[in-house]
């Protein structure tokens, strides 16, 4: 059981390395051979998988309700960008040196976000459901507010000038690691504690599970990966702005988790892929010349269609796309 998931992880890492090599056209790693627009969507998918499966640990497996995931992402994006911008040159200019500096920056981003997660994890010990959602939402706004007023990282002007280190490989390598960590945790006896906390906190305590530890751990891990995602995002887009990490961004991630099925990593990953592609697909439909004029007009209102599709999906499958898959698996 342990060996297989590790093997899958290694295979995914190798596959994304090869794919990255092909996509990037080989020698020039930052000029993708693929249409840059598609490349952009692919990177977006990878980042969303990291965000959504990290949040799934908090909202899906541990049963807490965090609405502040974009805040952690911001913490990671700004911390890592600050490091590469200020000290990126320290290790030298060669490709190995800059890549190492980038990875160190990503780790710093993750750690700063994890610390933020630790701070938010504490109220989760006293609050439940809607109340916790409001506190995490507030925390998201606080992080945004602090950045908006921190001149050192560009305040309201945003922060730019980062070198584009994020490649297809790094994005999907971290996505694979995130999924691996979440899946191997929740499938171990150690990690079943998360699910026990979700199902019944009082019973979990009575069975010797330190519910405080598990709740805080879920927040810290979820935030850590959000920080990594933020670092990847910052070093792909090369420009970040506090408004990019607002409440709506948090909601986007929550929607992926709910749509995919709380507590189903497979479902959440599929939802991350679908919800990244869907708005772009509608954009594409709006520009197909051969379609009738009215249909293109309809497709132009893509955000409305997107919302409608979400509502329909939630009405027809309230447990999420893959909500039942994990349960079936257990029965087999």
């Amino acid at each position: 059981m342990g060996g297989r998931s590790k093997l899958v992880l290694i295979l995914v890492l190798v596959a994304s390395a090869i794919a990255s090599h092909i996509l990037s056209g080989g020698a020039e790693p930052h000029i993708p051979a693929l249409n840059p627009y598609y490349y952009d969507v692919l990177i977006g998918i990878g980042i969303n998988i990291i965000l959504a499966s990290g949040l799934n640990l908090v909202n899906g497996y541990t049963g807490q309700f965090s609405l502040g995931h974009a805040g952690f992402m911001a913490a990671g994006a700004y911390a890592s960008s600050w490091l590469t911008l200020s000290y990126g040159y320290v290790l030298g200019v060669g490709s190995w040196a800059t890549t190492t500096a980038f990875l160190i920056a990503l780790m710093l981003g993750g750690i700063v976000a994890a610390l933020a997660g630790l701070i938010v994890g504490v109220p989760s010990l006293r609050l439940k459901g809607d109340y916790l959602a409001i506190v995490t939402l507030g925390f998201n706004e606080i992080i945004k507010g602090v950045i908006q007023n921190a001149d050192a990282v560009g305040a309201q002007r945003g922060l730019g000038g980062m070198v584009q280190h994020t490649t297809f490989f790094w994005t999907f390598a971290f996505a694979a690691i995130t999924v691996y960590v979440v899946v191997s945790l929740v499938n171990s006896t150690y990690g079943r504690g998360f699910l026990a906390v979700r199902d019944d906190e009082i019973a979990a305590e009575a069975m010797g599970i330190n519910t405080t530890k598990y709740k805080v751990l879920a927040f810290v891990l979820g935030a850590f990966f959000a920080g990594i995602a933020g670092g990847l995002y910052a070093h792909y887009k090369q420009f970040i702005h506090p408004e990019g990490f607002n409440f709506m961004k948090s909601v986007d991630v929550v929607v992926m988790v709910i749509l995919g099925g709380m507590g189903s990593t497979a479902g959440v990953c599929v939802a991350a892929v679908l919800l990244t592609i869907l708005p772009e697909l509608l954009r594409y439909v709006a520009h197909i010349e051969s379609l009738p004029e009215w249909l293109r007009h309809v497709a132009e209102n893509r955000m409305i269609i997107y919302s409608l599709l979400l509502i329909i999906l939630m009405l027809t499958r309230p447990q999420g796309l893959f909500g039942a898959v994990n349960l079936k698996k257990k029965r087999a």
Binding site: G191, E205, M207
Partner: protein
């Protein structure tokens, strides 16, 4: 005589102006099967919640195996060797039967999060060990066939049984059972009595049983404590309790002499 396993010394639990339990003293020796009975609202479940750390008693001392447990978090008390079941079943409803019991083995893990992530040979060894133990327990209680079903799909009696199995997986020295016979039919009750006695003998743990069903309590308990309005009104063997006028008064009301 050796010190008792669990000792409550004049324990009082007060919620605002309401004294749910007052000056309750109770002793349980190792391996003993003790009953705690009383009419509705007498404070039995409150006593349970104080012993397991859900509530912190307002006054008084609770010692388990010679050490105070007052003020400790429930999971720590469980780690010291007190396990419980709940009056209204509290299984982990989205987990399978196997996982419910496996979760209770969580606190015995020698290795932490890093082992779960690196999944090395030590991790595999420990998981296999836990699996073996869980299956063994399920087997003893006749639930092995339901190993992979969701616990909420089990019949009521099996759910009660599963709660006991789950509590036993924490390797308790003292098992607290809160109304295990509630909602059972007479046949199931007989089965339950056998099961409790079997548990006490096989696992060598002391049992404190809260129960409304007199047949069950009188049938298996070595000693019975009776609570009424938060006070202990009697203690003794089943035969003594049956004959105690105070107990009869608490349950049936006082006899009134008509003029």
């Amino acid at each position: 005589m050796s010190a008792p396993l669990l000792e409550l010394n004049e324990v009082t639990m007060q919620f605002g102006g309401l004294k749910c339990v007052s000056e309750l003293s109770l002793k349980i020796d190792e391996g003993e099967l003790v009953g705690l009975i009383g009419p509705n609202g007498a404070g039995k479940t409150t006593a349970f919640n104080m012993i397991t750390g859900v509530y912190r008693p307002t006054l008084g001392a609770i010692t388990f195996a010679g050490k105070s447990v007052v003020g400790h978090r429930p999971y720590k008390i469980t780690a010291r060797g007190i396990a419980r079941t709940f009056q209204n079943i509290r299984l982990f409803s989205s987990l399978t039967v196997f996982d419910n019991v496996r979760t209770a083995c969580n606190m015995h893990l020698r290795h932490g999060i890093l082992y779960a992530l690196t999944r090395g040979p030590k991790f595999a060894e420990e998981e296999t060990e836990i699996e073996k133990r869980v299956v063994e327990l399920l087997d003893i209680f006749g639930l092995a066939g339901e190993r992979d079903s969701l616990c909420k799909s089990l019949p009521y009696g099996d759910q009660r049984r599963l709660e006991i199995v789950r509590a036993l997986a924490t390797r308790p020295k003292l098992l607290l059972l809160d109304e295990p016979a509630a909602g059972m039919n007479p046949t199931e009750k007989v089965e339950l009595m056998k099961l409790i006695r079997f548990t006490q003998e096989k696992f060598g743990c002391a049992v404190l049983l809260v129960e409304h069903d007199m047949k069950v309590v009188m049938g298996i308990c070595q000693r019975i404590n009776v609570l009424d309005y938060g006070r202990k009104i009697a203690e003794g063997t089943p035969a003594e309790i049956r004959a105690n006028p105070k107990v009869i008064a608490a349950y049936l009301g006082k006899e009134e002499h008509d003029a």
